[in-house]
């Protein structure tokens, strides 16, 4: 079942050039992409390639000067502003890209409860659900009384995953969930995300680490400079990458250190 469909989505930032003239700077260009329920779709791109903006466009939390064109569909219905307001926090959850997305002055447990309330739960349910939600992410329920500054990077990510899923979201957008984590903690976070997909949710795994994402991803979308280069099955990233359809993906794969740095050659052939 197609959970999310992105149809020729483009995003521009309006900028005032001179006094009255404004120009539009492209941030995302004509992106078409679908995400199935039960799959992990990795969105891979360098820093500044527009990965976070793509997630924010889906959630409807873009800055005021952003101009969005094209269309979004969620579960077969148009995902417009009204639908976003109704679905965000309920059926679509975000795992943000840094700890600064947690309120520094609010207790961890409160932030989790608020997410449940925002998802339409009652006060009682929100309180009741908080503890199991933390435990499901391998967190000690005692951290509910602490403030975000006392969490490690890995714990903060897992708290964010608890926040993203406490409303029983069907689609999880995870923005660089392993950034700054050591391999052990990164594996724990990715394992849990893959677990969501096995239970039928759709997971968009946004990352700049192609190799780290491959064992968990079903498909890989490559983003470069705001453009979608290609979507390849994760299994095609193996050996010399001969199964990869696009030259760019092949070049990217072969340029990795463990794949003998064959960048110049690959580009020449491409």
């Amino acid at each position: 079942m197609t959970l999310l469909e992105i149809d020729s989505l483009s995003l521009h930032f309006r900028r005032y050039d001179r006094l009255f003239r404004h120009v539009e700077v492209e941030a995302l260009g004509a992106i078409s992409l679908a995400l199935e329920a039960g799959e992990v779709l990795a969105v891979v791109g360098a820093s500044g390639s527009g990965k976070s903006l793509l997630a924010h466009a889906i959630l409807g939390i873009l800055p005021k000067n952003a101009v969005l064109r094209g269309s979004l569909w969620f579960d077969g219905r148009p995902l417009d502003g009204t639908a976003q307001a109704a679905l965000c926090g309920r059926r679509i959850g975000l795992v943000p890209q840094s700890v600064s997305y947690l309120d520094p002055l609010a207790r961890n447990g409160d932030q989790l409860r608020w997410a449940a309330l925002r998802a339409g739960r009652s006060q009682r349910d929100a309180t009741r659900l908080a503890q199991p939600a933390l435990q499901a992410m391998g967190l000690d329920p005692a951290i509910a009384r602490d403030f975000p500054h006392s969490l490690s990077g890995g714990m903060a990510r897992r708290l964010a995953m608890a926040i993203a899923t406490i409303g029983e979201a069907d689609l999880i957008l995870a923005d660089e969930p392993t950034n700054g984590l050591d391999p052990d903690n990164a594996a724990r976070v990715l394992d849990r995300l893959a677990g969501f997909a096995r239970r039928g949710k759709g997971v968009m795994l946004i990352t700049h680490d192609l190799v780290g994402a491959l064992p968990y991803a079903d498909r890989v979308a490559i983003l470069d400079g705001g453009r979608l280069i290609d979507v390849e099955p994760a299994s095609a990233f193996s050996g010399r990458g001969d199964g990869l359809r696009s030259a760019y993906a092949r070049a990217l794969w072969r340029a990795l250190p463990q794949n003998d740095f064959s960048l110049p050659e690959a580009l020449h052939h491409a």
Partner: protein, 333 residues
């Protein structure tokens, strides 16, 4: 982050140094001013007193001594708890300050609380709905009033509500001719309304502007973006994240504004002839009542410095990152 005992000790030492410095400057200013304390004391009787009698008074008050000796003697008396005698009120200075401050405290305390509550609420609303009609209204209110002198507001209020409409009394803390202890609570409140309004209007505007600026900054933060991604409404964000994160700066500004509050009360009390410490300050100045003036100066310094120290202490208490010395270590990934 220094531990609490060091923080408190440091503050006490600093306060003592500030008080000594202020005492020195205030004393020097009083000595250099053209006001002659003996003339001020004699008032209309000045013509009847000959030079011998003047010398006698001067010797009695120690005015014939060198300035340094006078200062140390005054400081010594001060430390011993003797603030001197107020010729204006014909009572000990400590007693004058005590009764006057109690009267002012009601006025300043209420104005302070109103400024905090209403200013904070207005600032949060204006910042959360930036550019909306409430924001525009609050902004006009705050900018106009923040740039209007207190005495002008006070005179305007007096003209409209007391003179033209006759709703509120023209002066004082109670009806003329009634002893202060016989004034009823209703009368007290009736006499308090206008000075309180004059003083609060300005305080509210200031806190509202500060809170609005902080709130706009908060609305651009990552955690508000995250709350929006969770489907939080603007009201939800304003109450849960806005009020929480704007509270610290607002409290700090509120405590740090005690000086302005005191300055405002001097003017408001003068316009409404409200018998508080502010009015006593002006009386003491006009009458050349040096002991009272010096004591009020020191008292005000103590008052304002304590306010600033409380602001800093609250900041430490409320912000978990500042209260927890392990915070930096715990934040490691």
């Amino acid at each position: 982050m220094q531990p609490w005992p060091r923080f408190i000790a440091f503050r006490i030492v600093r306060l003592a140094l500030v008080l000594i410095a202020v005492a020195l400057v205030a004393f020097a200013l009083a000595k250099m001013s053209p006001v002659d304390p003996i003339n001020a004391y004699l008032g209309p009787d000045i013509a009847k007193v000959g030079p011998e009698q003047r010398a006698l008074i001067a010797a009695e008050w120690g005015l014939d001594q060198p300035v340094g000796v006078q200062f140390t003697k005054w400081l010594g008396n001060l430390l011993a708890g003797d603030l001197g005698w107020s010729v204006t009120y014909n009572a000990p200075v400590a007693e004058v300050i005590g009764t006057r401050f109690r009267t002012s405290l009601v006025l300043m305390g209420l104005a302070w609380i109103f400024s905090g509550l209403f200013g904070f609420a207005l600032g949060i609303a204006a910042g959360a709905w930036q550019g909306g009609w409430a924001d525009r209204l609050i902004r006009v209110y705050a900018y106009v009033l923040a740039s209007t002198p207190t005495f002008w507001i006070a005179i305007l209020l007096l003209m409209v509500f007391s003179v033209s409409l006759g709703w509120t009394p023209v002066c004082c803390a109670g009806p003329v001719g009634v002893l202060p202890e016989d004034v009823t609570l209703v009368e007290r409140i009736r006499h308090l309304i206008l000075p309180l309004a004059a003083l609060s209007i300005l305080g509210i505007a200031q806190i509202a502007l500060h809170t609005r600026a902080k709130m706009i900054e908060i609305m651009r933060s990552d955690y508000v973006l995250y709350a929006q991604a969770q489907g939080a409404s603007r009201l939800d964000i304003a109450l849960r994240h806005g009020a929480r994160n704007a509270a610290l700066p607002a409290i700090t500004v509120l405590f740090a504004s005690l000086g302005e509050l005191f300055g405002g009360s001097v003017l408001a009390e003068q316009v409404f002839a409200y018998p508080g410490l502010g009015r006593a300050t002006i009386e003491a100045g006009i009458r050349g009542d040096v002991p009272l003036l010096l004591a009020i100066t020191l008292f005000t310094t103590l008052f304002v410095s304590t306010g600033n120290t409380i602001a800093d202490a609250l900041y430490r208490l409320v912000d978990p990152r500042m209260a927890d010395p392990d915070a930096v270590q715990g934040a490691a990934p």
